[in-house]
Structures are given as C-alpha cells and as structure tokens.
C-alpha cells in the first residue's frame, strides 16, 4: 500500500522531482486523486505552513516546498478534472494599487493552493477595477488583498466599497493582510477576514468558505 506520508515528507523537504514521481506512482497504484491531494500534498503544505508560522521554517524553504507541491499538482490536475473533483474554493488575490510588494502575497497564494484552493493571482499594483472585474467572475468566493505600505493600505477600503457598490459583497467574502494591517483595521474597513501570516490565511479562507 502506498504511503502518502512519504509524499508529504518529500514535499516538506522541497524535493520536486520525487514529489512528481511519487504522485504518479500513487495514481498508478490506484489511489484516488482526491485522496492523494488531501492526504499527501495538502497535508504536507499544512505542516510547512504551521512550521513557517513558528519560525521553524524560513521563506526559501517554503518556496521550494511550494515548488514541490506544484510538481505534484501538475501530475494530479488532469486526473482531478476527469473525476470532477472540486477545488476547496475559488479565490482571487492581488497586491493593491501603488504597491509592488509580492513576497507575502505569493506566500499566501502558495499556501492557499497547497490547501486545495483554486487561486487566481492578479499580480501587483492591481487597480480597483481589476479586483472588481475578477471578483465578478463565475464561482469566485473570496477576494484577498495584500498591502505592505501604510500609504497603500487605504486602497483596501476603496476596493471593498467598490465591491459593495457592484453588488458583489452578498456573494463573496473579502480578506486582507500585509505588514501594516491589523484585525482592528480589517474590521474598520469592513473586511470579512484578516490573517497575520500565510498559514493563518489558509485557516481563515477555510472558515470563510466553510470547508
């Protein structure tokens, strides 16, 4: 019987080649794509996220773990589509207008992908219009915004107001994060969720979509 724990361990070590091979092997041995995803890849990224939060793992290690996760996902994706498995949820993410920081946003994106979410990355310096247009797309459940500058964080309030005006806040939730952001600020601007780090962002997203 194939041991998914081994897959998770190679993912945590960031061994992309081995993760790709083991994912293919697990499929060949008849495990369902959904099981491989949740008990292999997602389980691995959850541990990476938790260790990162505790400063036991550092940014470059998270990045190579995420690369390994993608190696596994690439093998799984066609099979997941065949079996009609649904993602944990659909999220659009971006760094707000005027802000070019992407490390935090990318870490959150990788963690969300690692948790089985379908994440569309709008990139950096994203205008309000772009956020609103992406939020209006089919099936989007969460709009996640990142700001690393005190001068760009007011954009978040503007985006949330624009989403409200577009009538989208009844169907989607909003999440905010970044160095200058606090729960207090998130509440003040009417965001549905705030997370202080990438691992907590996954917990928050899961809570918001109810998975």
């Amino acid at each position: 019987m194939f041991d998914l724990k081994t897959l998770s361990e190679y993912l945590q070590k960031g061994d992309a080649k081995k993760v790709g091979e083991l994912t293919a092997q697990a499929l060949a041995e008849g495990l369902s794509p959904k099981t491989i995803l949740s008990e292999g890849l997602i389980a691995g990224m959850d541990i990476v996220g938790a260790k990162f939060k505790k400063n036991e793992l550092f940014v470059p290690e998270v990045l190579i773990a995420a690369r390994a996760m993608h190696a596994g996902l690439d093998v799984l994706k066609p099979k997941l589509a065949e079996t009609g498995a649904k993602p944990a949820g659909r999220i659009v993410i971006g760094t707000v207008k005027g802000d070019l920081h992407d490390i935090g946003k990318n870490l959150v994106k990788m963690m969300l992908q690692g948790a089985g979410f379908d994440v569309r990355d709008l990139g950096i310096d994203v205008t309000t219009d772009k956020f609103v247009a992406a939020a209006g797309e089919e099936g989007v459940q969460i709009v996640a915004m990142s700001a690393l500058l005190s001068t760009t964080m007011p954009q978040m309030r503007i985006i949330i107001e624009a989403l409200h005006k577009a009538g989208l806040l009844s169907k989607i939730k909003t999440m905010v994060g970044g160095a200058p952001i606090s729960q207090k600020y998130a509440t003040e601007i009417g965001a549905d969720g705030f997370a202080p780090d990438a691992a907590s962002a996954v917990d928050k997203a899961r809570q918001l979509v109810g998975v």
Partner: protein
C-alpha cells in the same frame, strides 16, 4: 559614509504615539540620539497617517527644526506634503524619493529644483520591479541621466538600487553590488544609498546578513546608508569597514569609536 537615521518614522509605534500626543520632546530626543552617534540626516516619515500625513509631517518637521539643527530627509510620496515640509526647512535637505515612474518623476522634480535638495533616486520605472542586472541597471542609468539633464547636480543624486530579499531571489545581492559598482564607474560624482534590512527578509539572524551586506556594499562603493544609527553592532561594522577601505585617516575614527565604547568591546 553618509548616514541617514531612520528612526523618526510613524510606522514605529513610539513615534506614532508621540506624534498623536504631540510630544515634541520625545521626537527631539530621538533626533538628538541619532545625531550623537553619527547620523548626518534624519529621515522623517508620517506615511502611516494616510490622509492626515501632511499635517503630521509638518508637525514633526517643525518640532525637530525648532530645537535641533540638523538637515532632514523628507520621506513621503505625496508632493504636497513634501512641499509643505521643505518650505519649513529651506535648502540643503534630502528628499526621499524620486523614481523613473512616469507620474512620480515630473511631480517630484520641481521640488528638488525649487529647494535645491539632495534626492534619493529609486531604480524603479513602474510596473514590476526588475530583478535582472541589465534591466535594473538601465533604469538606474536612465534615471541619473534624466536628473542630470534636468539640472540636478550629480553630487545631490543618491541612487538606491532597491535591494530585495535574498531569501526569494538569491541573485539580488550580487545584482545590487554590481549596480553600485557600475553606477559609480559611469558617474563618479553621484552617490549610492541603500536601506539594510530588506535583504534578510524571511531568514533567521537577520542582523548578521544585514551587517555583512553593508560591508560588501561599502566595498562596492556604497557611500550612503539609511539605517538605525542606534544599532550598535551595525554602526561598529560600518566604522570598521570604513577604516578597512582606507577612508579613515590614521584610523582616527576607528580609535575614537573604541574610546567612546562604540565598538562593542
């Protein structure tokens, strides 16, 4: 080595609180403490106040300038806030910052000329931050060329190569060092400046990386730095590097730093 002290920034909680309470004595104490240990300019940033940035920046600048005779480095992205602050200070200040971004450049340039400031020039042209040496260097060289042809004196230009996190891009240190070298070779009269904390983001024992990078950057030609001058280890490293680079006559600064108990021994 020109040191711009970075402590008067409202993203630091004590500064934000003192600004809210209009505690001018505290702000002046922060100013004096930095000058005492070698800062030449004091960065002043009230960006966290958002729409109230201008009034808070003005209060900070007035509070410092009324008691402390030191040039300031006005750190803002709002041309009106910068103008108001520079009007209080007069000439000889530093402005942080201009870039090659197409909205920013024409908004900031007149301020540099009107007030005869030194200026931090960010190697940024809008959109993505380039990571490759060739594209980044081109932005830097073009920006210096534009400033010179618009009448800004070479000795007033402080180019910031924009150092990113080594934990994300392992070439960013090499790229920054090469940028500093190339810029100083092509334009010997300009200066290069950098912050020291970005490079270590996401890694353990950040200060070790920051200090080590400082010595490497100084060897490459970095001649100005935005830092916390109250960071004793960093300042000791700076003093030692300066001496080792042959910039310290008869090692006087090094020995004086030792006698003032600033080398950590």
């Amino acid at each position: 080595m020109l040191i711009v002290g970075e402590r008067i920034n409202t993203s630091r909680r004590p500064i934000a609180e003192a600004t809210e309470k209009r505690d001018a004595a505290f702000i002046c104490q922060e100013a004096r403490a930095q000058l005492e240990v070698g800062a030449s300019f004091l960065d002043v940033n009230a960006g966290t106040f958002g729409e109230k940035e201008t009034e808070n920046l003005i209060w900070l600048v007035k509070s410092i300038r009324s008691k402390v005779d030191s040039p300031l480095c006005i750190d803002s992205s709002d041309p009106e806030a910068i103008h108001a602050a520079l009007e209080i200070c007069g000439k000889g200040m530093m402005l942080n910052s201009i870039s090659a971004e197409k909205e920013k450049y024409p908004a900031i340039l007149p301020l540099i000329k009107e007030f005869g400031c030194k200026v931090v020039a960010l190697c940024l042209a809008g959109g993505e931050i380039p990571t490759e040496l060739s594209s980044k260097l081109k932005i830097g060289l073009d920006l210096v060329e534009a400033l010179l042809s618009d009448g800004v004196k070479a000795e007033n230009i402080y180019v910031d190569p924009l150092i990113m996190a080594i934990g994300v891009d392992q070439q960013t240190g090499r790229v920054a060092l090469a940028m500093i070298k190339e810029l100083k070779t092509k334009y010997p009269d300009i200066h290069t400046i950098s912050g020291l904390s970005n490079i270590s983001f996401g890694l353990p024992v950040r200060k070790l990386l920051n200090r080590t990078f400082l010595t490497m950057a100084m060897a490459a030609g970095l001649d100005a730095v935005i830092m916390d001058p109250l960071d004793k280890e960093m300042m000791a490293t700076l003093t030692a590097a300066n001496t080792l680079l042959g910039l310290d006559y008869c090692c006087g600064e090094y020995i004086t730093a030792f006698r003032n108990n600033r080398l950590g021994r």
